[in-house]
């Protein structure tokens, strides 16, 4: 999808439309990438600041989403360097006990927290691919172009990410019938 290109010429209304259209996808991307809810709003603000500052660098030939996510990725990396935030280890998160059912855990918001934490614990190279493919629904070719890597590498990273998550979330994955509820 290509946004209205008036925002590149400094139109406030067009830029506002662009922000409204993309703020939630960017927030979702950053949230899954960083794994820290409290950082998302500030990072999102920074992303659109950079979008506005570098608006003239965007070329219509490229995918806008890829350009935008590239900026968001850089913002997340800069924030990590600057703040030295570390995703909390799974050891700090309350483990999923064998007693309560996965649904019950989900109802207590533990399930979601555990999933987010599991994603945050993945190595960055795997995490980026998983987030872009699963949450942003980008194709492997688009991800490959965005990251400048071969599509085969992206696919193998994605498979590795999914398998790691399967190991981490084994207690939840082994009860597929309960997940359907």
């Amino acid at each position: 999808m290509k946004p209205d290109l008036d925002w590149q010429n400094g139109s406030s209304a067009a830029f506002e439309m662009l922000v409204r259209r993309w703020q939630q996808p960017v927030a979702r991307f950053l949230f899954h990438l960083v794994g820290r809810k409290e950082l998302v709003a500030d990072l999102c603000q920074e992303v659109f600041l950079r979008v506005y500052e570098h608006r003239l660098r965007y070329r219509e030939s490229g995918t806008f989403a890829a350009w935008l996510y590239r900026i968001a990725l850089n913002v997340a990396r800069d924030a990590k360097r600057r703040c030295r935030y570390e995703p909390r280890s799974l050891d700090d998160v309350e483990p999923v006990s064998d007693g309560p059912s996965p649904d019950a855990a989900c109802e207590q918001a533990e399930c979601g927290r555990l999933i987010v934490q599991s994603i945050a614990d993945l190595p960055e190279s795997l995490r980026i691919v998983l987030v872009l493919r699963h949450y942003e629904e980008m194709s492997f070719d688009q991800i490959a172009r965005m990251l400048g890597e071969p599509a085969s590498t992206i696919k193998s990273r994605f498979s590795a990410a999914l398998r790691r998550l399967r190991e981490r979330l084994r207690p939840l994955c082994d009860n597929p019938t309960e997940l359907e509820r």
């Binding site: 600041l49 989900c106 994605f158 939840l172 597929p176 997940l179």
Partner: protein, 208 residues
């Protein structure tokens, strides 16, 4: 197909990434309960990933414009500082080159000099001790020895000429002393004659 190959293909199959092996994988899944369980578990992971709740974010456009303007101001200030620094540096370089500025550390002193330096010291200041100027440009032992030899020669000449002058003065003084001596002898003779004459006159006066 082997189970390991099937399991490697499962993540992409679940996400609808079609491949030429899809039919074979599906056939294997129909006959292999272990691989089917793995397939269902990965599908479960996919469903789990959708169970996260993303925080709702509303970008504050007013704050965004304020931040943009602040950054613009900061950037302009940085440019101004850079321009001022460069200007000051250029001015300093111009002054240094224009005035032929020469700053150096000598033995126990800091020398700041501009222009072409002081005129060379006139050698007439010390005519009797005209020492050849020695400049330690670089350690050149034969050259230093040559200069040292010239210096010794000049000092020797100076000493010789002074000795000669002193000798001439002494000769003149000795001549003067000799002259005084002869004058004194002459005066003494005259005085003796005068005294003798007076004595005779006195004796004649006593015997009338």
């Amino acid at each position: 197909m082997k189970c390991t190959d099937v399991r490697a293909a499962l993540p992409l199959l679940i996400y609808g990434e079609s491949s030429t092996e899809d039919a074979a994988v599906r056939e294997h899944l129909a006959n292999c309960p272990d691989c089917r369980r793995e397939y269902e578990a990965l599908q479960g992971v996919r469903r789990l990933l959708d169970k996260t709740s993303v925080p709702h974010v509303a970008v504050d456009l007013h704050q965004l414009h304020c931040s943009l303007s602040e950054r613009q101001q900061r950037r302009e200030k940085r440019w101004q500082h850079a321009a001022l620094t460069l200007g000051a540096l250029a001015a300093a370089l111009l002054v240094a080159f224009g005035l032929h500025l020469d700053i150096r550390f000598d033995a126990s002193q800091l020398v700041v000099r501009w222009g072409d330096g002081p005129p060379p010291v006139a050698e007439t200041c010390y005519p009797d001790f005209a020492i050849p100027q020695i400049q330690a440009v670089k350690p050149d032992v034969p050259e230093e020895l040559r200069v040292l030899s010239e210096l010794i020669h000049a000092l020797k000449q100076d000493a010789d000429s002074r000795d000669q002058r002193f000798s001439e003065r002494l000769d003149r003084l000795q001549e003067h002393v000799h002259a005084l001596q002869s004058q004194a002898d002459l005066r003494w003779d005259t005085t003796e004659k005068d005294v003798a004459a007076l004595y005779l006159l006195t004796r004649k006066g006593e015997k009338p």
